[in-house]
Structure formats: C-alpha cells, structure tokens
Symmetry: C2
DNA sequence: TGTGAAACTTGCCAGTGACAAGATTGCGCG
DNA sequence: CGCGCAATCTTGTCACTGGCAAGTTTCACA
C-alpha cells in the first residue's frame, strides 16, 4: 500500500525491514538502533527516518507484517484447534522477531490502521478455529474457549522464548506445545 | 544479603529500586534511564553504578525481588490451583513493573545466584499447587499439568498487560482470569 | 529539457550508559 | 582520641543514540 519505489538504493524500505528483523533477533526490539540499520543497509544515519518517520514507525510496520503473517498461519490450520495452537507456538519460535515486536505495543503505534486490520484478521482466524471445534459437541462458550486457547498457546510460546521453561520440556517446541495444549481438549 | 548501609544519602540503594519500579511502570523496563533514577533520588548521574554496576545489575535486583514476591504470593494460595492461577494474574497486574522485568531475561543477568534461588522457589510453589490438586483424583502427569497451568495463567496475564485482549473481557482481571482458568479444571 | 518532488546526506543537539579519577564521609582499630 | 582506609558519592569525559533541519542528488513527468 505504501508502495515505495526503488530510487537510489534500490529498495531501501524493504532492506531496512529485513535488517531490522535481523537486528531484533540479535538484540531484541527495544535495543534496536536505527543508525545500526542504516549502516547495515549502507546508507546514511538519517535515511530510515524518511521511510518510517521514527523508530516507532519502523516497529509499527514490523508488527503489522507480523500480524498479517500470523493470520495466514492460523487460517491454514483453521479446522484443527490443537494444530492451530501448535502453529501459533511454532510461529512465535520461527518468527521470533515478529512475535516479540507484535506484543510490545508500547514500542509502536497501536492505533495504526493497517496494523489493526491485520490484528483483526488474526483474531478472527483464532476465533473461527475455536468455533469450528465446538460446533459438534455440547454448546460451548466460544468467547471463553478462544480466550483460554489463546492464553495457553501464548503463554507457552512466551515462556519458551523467555527461556523460562525447565530443561525437561526438551528442545522441540512443537512437540512440547502439543503435549501441553492437549490438556485443554480433555 | 548485600546489606548496604545508610551513608550519605540515607538508603540510596533502596531509593533507587523504588524509583526504578516507578519508572518501569511509566515507560517500561527497556526505556529505563539510570540518569533519570539518579535525578529522582537527588544524586549524581554516576551514583547508581556504584550500587548496581550497570543497568543490567539494577534490573537483576528487581527481577530477583519480583520472583521472591511471586513465590510468596503463590505459596499463600497453595492449596487451590484455580486461586493460585488467579493470584498469578493478579500479581502480574498489581506488580506490573516486577512482572515485566522478570520475564525479559535479555535485560538482566540470568545467571545471578540470588535471582535463580528466588526463581526456583516460585517454580516449586507452582508445582506443589498442581501436585496437591491431582493427589485426590486420577493419576496425573504433574509435569504436564503444571506446565499447562503456568502457560494459561502466564498467557492470560501477558495478553492482559499488552492490552491485546478484546474489550468484552471487562476490566476486572481477577474475574476474567477465573473464568478462563476454570476451563482447565473441567 | 527542465522543474518539482521524492530520496537521501550532512550537520547538529540533547540525552544516555559506561568509565576514570577525584572528593567526602564515617567506621574500625590502634 | 584520632588516624587510616574503604565505602559512598561527584565531576568530567567519551562514544553512541534518536530526532530535527537544511542541503544535495536523482528520478518522473510534462
């Protein structure tokens, strides 16, 4: 939508986003340095400001992209709640940089329109997965169930990323998540 | 244990910790400024370094204190898993500054001894609550159950703090958490 | 071709964390 | 009683950061 064309650099906006994801993976979203990104992309220290305004603008773009990617991921696993939960955790681990930015709204513009659209899509995918599951059995409270499913998947993912989980859970996040998430289905 | 006595300032170490908690509540743990803390305490900009070494040292002290407080909280609600979960969420909301630091290990020294002792106490309290619950019924997998309970409580708390939850959950975290956590007991 | 706008640069300022070196204060020990 | 000494705190500095302003280069389009 903000179709930035290739000018002097080629595609600086995209290059900066890529560099940002790399940097976030290395030092976390808070320690991100715009000047470092500029160096990585081979441009002057003020170039990023032209494309994103400021640091919050850059992180807003990343968060929006992240919610978009998450919505896609959840939609693909739509008919199986357990696998959707596993996919959620897998997303967090695989796209750690996105995930860490997405749930740190104090770092970006939470009122951004494009971002909220993507966030809405992700939320809808989550709820539709829960609704599909409960449609066969007893009448369920979809609101509460989707909140519970989201909480347990999000909690496990967060704890995994924080390195807070004990060693005994192993090193395969998908497998470990599946075991924990199954606790909801029983 | 590092029994710092009152010298010139009176009790600068304690004053800095208090100021830090206040500041974390205002701007988040990453945007914390040591110089700002110094100003709040009325000392020179280099005074904090003497007590905490650097920023990571200060946040390590906060995280350790936080895990200690959490362990106490969980121990008090030990015999009721649901209420322990509610207490966990309540801790996160009430002591937001502590909670936000505790689960951001990239900001502090995760290998600190005192911190890990406190963290261990909190983990033990959590597991003992789960074990107590399952002792009466069918033989359960305490490892998995405690991981699930921790995940759902932690996830709900994190999403609540991030402002990611939809408006319909209301504004009472304890009540909302109880509804979601009950989903595990059924 | 040339004009206007977009993309980028250079230069600057205030603020920050960390370090080094010095000043001050109060405790312990003779 | 007083003196040394270590803990506490200050002053000064450096490299770095984000953000702003003003200038320069490059491209699109008439």
């Amino acid at each position: 939508m903000t179709g930035t064309r290739a000018y002097h650099h080629g595609d600086l906006r995209r290059a900066l986003l890529a560099a940002a994801l790399e940097a976030v993976g290395e030092v976390g979203p808070a320690a991100l340095s715009l000047r470092d990104l500029a160096r990585r992309a081979g441009v002057s220290h003020a170039a990023p400001a032209h494309h994103f305004g400021d640091k919050a603008g850059l992180l807003t773009a990343i968060a929006a992209q992240g919610f978009d990617l998450l919505a896609q991921t959840l939609t693909e696993a739509d008919d199986d709640l357990l696998e959707a939960g596993v996919a959620y955790v897998d997303f967090a681990v695989t796209h750690r940089a996105y995930f860490e930015v997405m749930f740190r709204p104090e770092l970006y513009r939470a009122d951004d329109a494009e971002l909220n659209a993507a966030r809405g899509r992700a939320g809808a995918a989550l709820r539709s997965g829960v609704a599909a599951l409960s449609s066969g059995g007893a009448p369920a409270d979809t609101d509460r169930d989707s909140l519970a499913a989201w909480s347990i998947a999000h909690g496990f993912a967060t704890l995994w990323l924080a390195g807070a989980l004990p060693d005994r859970v192993g090193d395969d996040p998908r497998e470990a998540a599946r075991a924990v998430l199954r606790r909801l289905s029983t």
